[in-house]
Symmetry: C2
Subunit: 379 residues, 2 copies
DNA sequence: CTGTTAGCGCGTTCAG
DNA sequence: CTGAACGCGCTAACAG
């Protein structure tokens, strides 16, 4: 089957993006040497640009241009097609590490996330990865690292990313103790914060308006006629949770709601801890009739404890979570929750990165996106 | 504060592993030029090895050796310390892309996963990443990509990995339609399969004995005295689920259990689909008294549906899942499930990769690890 | 033990 | 429109 221009044009991008299904049959790959005009010393089985050029009786430069996305117009149409056809048949793949060395750009961005098991982080990360793959003329590859909120791991990760010469870094794992490490990194490459910010650190960020989210929940409780309510706060070291708490408390005061017990917090925002903290809620006097859990995991722990002890939700106790996770939607009693603006946050983070890479403009471009309350059966 | 040898030795590995907290103060970094003996043309703010060498009145090679892990013994102790101290104070970071180009090795491995939201995959991946970071003298960086079981995405990912010259590829996302793409990739670099295998493709793999897992569940049902049971199968395209089904059915026959209804399968192994399929289970005649769900997500969907309709678990219906996810442990009715050997699978996969990279030995080294049944309250 | 030399595979001048 | 030459930052081979 001869290659037509249509397939070649597909391959043009396919060479970089690999949409092309046909990378040359194994026969082609085995026999590519026979295209050589002169015998040339071949090190491995991997074809490089020099060899490809020799096989075509062209100079490397011409081949380089023909294969490139932005400079292929500098090459005659006929030559360009000939080069691309050969590259395709022979399974040529440009060596991106070599290209990076020459260009001074690796077309990679480091992504730091605290917990790969967290659905919200993953959702934001997916958006970022999708954007990075297609944004503008850029085709960036993400390097992903998980910190589990450990400072040493974070520093290790930053060092690795910097050593690999990433073009930028996005952290979804910022916490106060990382301030210095991130600022040091920002001296070398653009650093963008997403989901989590750091007090007093002015880096371009893409955030959720957590305070507004907390406020919405309190307003909702007030509208439902509750008098005594409480909140189970996530780790207090994270600004995210502090903001949710502040918004909730503010509106409680404004609406005449009493927070009892107050100061409830879990060390990790997980279901088991939500389960455990339930006893403290029930021990309070007066006992609250509604709980705001700072995320869905905690909320689910509370609901499971509620079920275990034979109480009913929302009749005996209303519960609202945060993040709108998949699980919240499929419970027997669907969980009321605050929908996190994952798409907006991810998109803004990737836009910031693209802009900063193009023109090292470190302007003050933080955006804060609003969440929205989803009232379901649990409240 | 002067640098003592202890800190320098830490930095020795810290240079690569960044355990060192102190990367040189900002003043150090700003003034590093003054260490230069001659003025040298400096392009960016980033210090390279040539400049570092000139500042120290040494040759690049010496600096390179002094900083390396395996060849630093070729350098005099005094010089070595001097080099490392300077590198540390000046915040020198070796350019890994350049090193890779020269060495013909990038010290990266591509990891392909179908779904970043899947706890089991993530757990295996974490193990792999931890091993890769510390295994032997190797410090490999993983490149992670998600396919969502899409062939084109998989091909794209493979191409990107290969273009970035990864030293090996680990796929936790194999499915039958990817056979050709993976085999083509295996022509270039070692390819290892984990968690999922492909029928008829002989690549070194690290797997779970899914059939044994299914068998355990059937034996458990038989021991509990059930007569009519059923299973809800995951996507039939995946060998994983086919094996679980086969093991379960085999033991059912051997133990005289009837599968009604049979042939129940969901398109995606998710909680919502588990929820939906529940109606079909209840409509069966005779109605089964126990369900084997091919993973915990499906099982949880079934349990939620059970709750919604007022049935009791395990009295009216026993349920067993697969994977031992966090969620299975914290439900009001803790879920019986099959514990997946994530550590063993991950460890074997990373060992395979390390071995294959060292000595391109493509020997037949697949291992299959046994899962174990965890009986909890739901059965 | 250290310096010298020679590339790794590309992209980008500058000529023609 | 194409070819020749240079160098990105590093490590490996070979001398000394």
């Amino acid at each position: 089957m001869p290659l037509d221009n249509n397939r070649l044009h597909k391959y043009c991008s396919g060479l970089w993006r690999a949409n092309a299904r046909h990378n040359g049959t194994m026969e082609d790959r085995a026999n590519w040497r026979f295209l050589n005009v002169n015998d040339s010393p071949i090190q491995g089985s991997r074809l490089n640009m020099k060899e490809l050029a020799k096989a075509l009786n062209l100079d490397r430069s011409t081949v380089s241009r023909a294969l490139s996305e932005d400079k292929s117009h500098l090459v005659g149409l006929e030559t360009r097609l000939r080069v691309r056809e050969a590259a395709m048949k022979l399974g040529y793949r440009t060596d991106l590490t070599a290209a990076a060395l020459r260009k001074g750009r690796t077309d990679t961005v480091g992504i730091i996330v605290s917990d790969l098991g967290n659905e919200t982080f993953i959702t934001v990360m997916r958006q970022i990865m999708a954007d990075l793959k297609g944004n503008g003329a850029l085709h960036m590859t993400p390097l992903i690292g998980e910190t589990r909120d450990d400072l040493a791991t974070t520093q290790d990760l930053l060092h690795r990313f910097l050593s690999r010469r990433v073009d930028a870094i996005i952290s979804l794992a910022a916490s106060d103790d990382q301030a210095e490490a991130l600022q040091l990194a920002a001296l070398q490459v653009p650093v963008v914060l997403a989901v989590r910010s750091i007090r007093g650190v002015e880096l371009p960020s893409a955030l959720c308006d957590d305070e507004a989210g907390g406020a919405m929940v309190a307003a909702h409780f007030a509208a439902r006629g509750h008098k005594f309510v409480c909140q189970v706060q996530g780790p207090t070291a994270a600004a995210t949770f502090r903001n949710r708490a502040r918004g909730f408390s503010r509106v409680c005061k404004q609406s005449g709601l009493s927070e009892v017990p107050s100061g409830l917090a879990v060390k990790n925002a997980t279901t088991p801890e939500g389960r455990q903290v339930f006893a403290q809620v029930m021990a309070a006097d007066p006992r609250p009739t509604a709980i705001f859990a700072h995320n869905d995991s905690i909320a689910i722990g509370l609901m499971e404890a509620l079920r275990s002890e034979g109480h009913r939700c929302p009749e005996d106790m209303a519960i609202v979570g945060f993040n709108n996770t998949q699980m919240s939607r499929v419970l027997a009693i669907p969980l009321s929750t605050v929908d996190y603006p994952t798409v907006e946050v991810g998109r803004h983070a990737s836009r910031l990165v693209s802009n900063l890479i193009e023109n090292r403009d470190y302007g003050w471009k933080t955006s804060v996106f609003s969440p929205s309350l989803l009232v379901r059966a649990s409240s």
